[in-house]
Symmetry: C2
């Protein structure tokens, strides 16, 4: 993409979240084996940082500070990182490549990988609880993080995913699963800065609608890429969905219809944004979700 | 124990935390496999509920409401439950008996067990964030929960434990490990009601000291029981420490010296309690830590 300096903005903010993650992921190591090393191994140095960029873009849209956005961006990236570590483990997807590197359990062993994921969760909450905002805003934002990552959000979506491998799934169930598994944390990334800043209900609702649309776009495109791209480009193992007989938008709709669906969702997401906000980066990110190739 | 109606108080408050856990551990099941069932299986119907009793006793000591205490008690029991589920998994302690029942991964499989633990963490935070207290109190209490359960608390202690199986360990390192692994969450159980109620610094410090002493007592007695009791009495597999060549207070001090140490810590814990608080139940619980036989 080349519009309006988005690439420079994204690069700068990827560096910003990397610095904030480095600052807030402790490096000191006592007698604790390699726990902190494992936490940093997975949290730092990689990934598209889409959730962090969404948090920064949301903060810009409402005129909140970059410092406030740091806490939101780091919190959602830590939750995302823990979920990747656990998802990749042998008892789940048993994947050995992630972000172009060996997965955590391959490097540190299953027990330390599980603990590193376990310990990234409360660290995410601690970081968000330290956000420069009112106590009321912090409580609302932290509650959103808890709901989005839990049994009726990300973890619940993973459970549906797990329970349905190899089973027929309707498009409605597939969308419900992804709304929980991926969508809830996308929504958290976008809504948390607004909750911290105590934005009004109509702004929160509009941002949530935007988030739900781009979250679904992300997943549709993910399925398309899994079916069409190679592992080197993706930085993770490609073709796993078909190999695992997982229901996907591609298996239910076909590749072309899935691509068109992603475009329609993107248009709806951009349309949902309130005109009184500074929505340039949110608009850029919506387009990126639909056009990304990794 | 037969002093001052403690047994009735403990029974009533075990029932109280069970009811609150039942209320706040969702039962509705969508297409999510058995995730919620697995969360309830481990969270409900068992355990000594020591952490919950500590939260209720702390709330009584400072004159806070039982409703406030419910949120603290449920939050710490949910974190404790998640840690038990993950600890028992094959990649950790590989235990198949807990609270007299088959462990989660035995019943639900490794993937669902891991997810159930993962989902209990944010649920604990959500429950605490909903406590009937000021936003400032809620933020402070939730931050304590995050710190106590994370890399410098419970999860970090487990990592030290894991890294030191079969290695020689000094008494100082053993104490540091247990202060993190068990002590931090005991301290959270006791301090969280006081943080919610915005108690003053000297009260918080005194309660933290009490908590650290009884936390260590608990672990010393745990080691004694593992070496001397049978599995049926404990409701979990006995003799695992020696079988796994784990350093313990018993292996480092011997059984009699460990028992005396537990008694001294108990006296110090009770001595640390501020005289202006209503400390009857905290005193009872300190004695229970030292004299329990399961």
């Amino acid at each position: 993409m080349s519009n309006s300096g988005f690439d420079q903005w994204a690069t700068a903010h990827r560096a910003r979240v990397e610095a904030a993650l480095t600052r807030w992921t402790p490096a000191a190591e006592l007698t604790s084996g390699r726990l902190l090393e494992a936490m940093r191994y997975s949290a730092l140095g990689g990934g598209k940082r889409l959730r962090a960029l969404l948090a920064y873009a949301s903060a810009e849209a409402i005129g909140a500070s970059a410092e406030l956005a740091d806490h939101a961006a780091v919190a959602v990236e830590m939750i995302h990182t823990y979920s990747l570590i656990h998802d990749d483990m042998p008892c789940m997807d048993n994947d050995d490549l992630r972000r172009g590197k060996p997965t955590s359990h391959v490097v540190f062993g299953d027990a330390t990988a599980m603990l590193a994921g376990d310990a990234l969760q409360p660290l995410a909450f601690a970081v968000l609880l330290g956000a420069p905002a009112t106590a009321t805003g912090v409580v609302a934002a932290t509650h959103e993080l808890a709901e989005a990552s839990g049994a009726f959000g990300m973890a619940g979506g993973q459970a549906i995913d797990l329970a349905n491998v190899g089973k027929p799934m309707t498009l409605a169930t597939l969308e419900e699963m992804h709304a929980m598994k991926t969508g809830a944390m996308f929504e958290a990334a976008i809504v948390i800065p607004a909750l911290l800043a105590e934005e009004d209900e109509s702004t929160l609702t509009a941002l949530a609608t935007y988030a739900q649309k781009i979250g679904m776009t992300f997943q549709v495109v993910d399925d398309v890429l899994d079916a069409t791209a190679d592992s080197a480009t993706l930085g993770k193992t490609a073709g796993k969905d078909a190999a695992n007989d997982k229901p996907t938008f591609v298996s239910l709709m076909g590749i072309e219809a899935a691509r068109q669906y992603a475009q329609r969702l993107t248009d709806e997401a951009i349309h949902a944004l309130p005109v009184h906000l500074n929505t340039q980066r949110l608009t850029d990110l919506a387009r990126l979700m639909a056009t990304r190739n990794a």
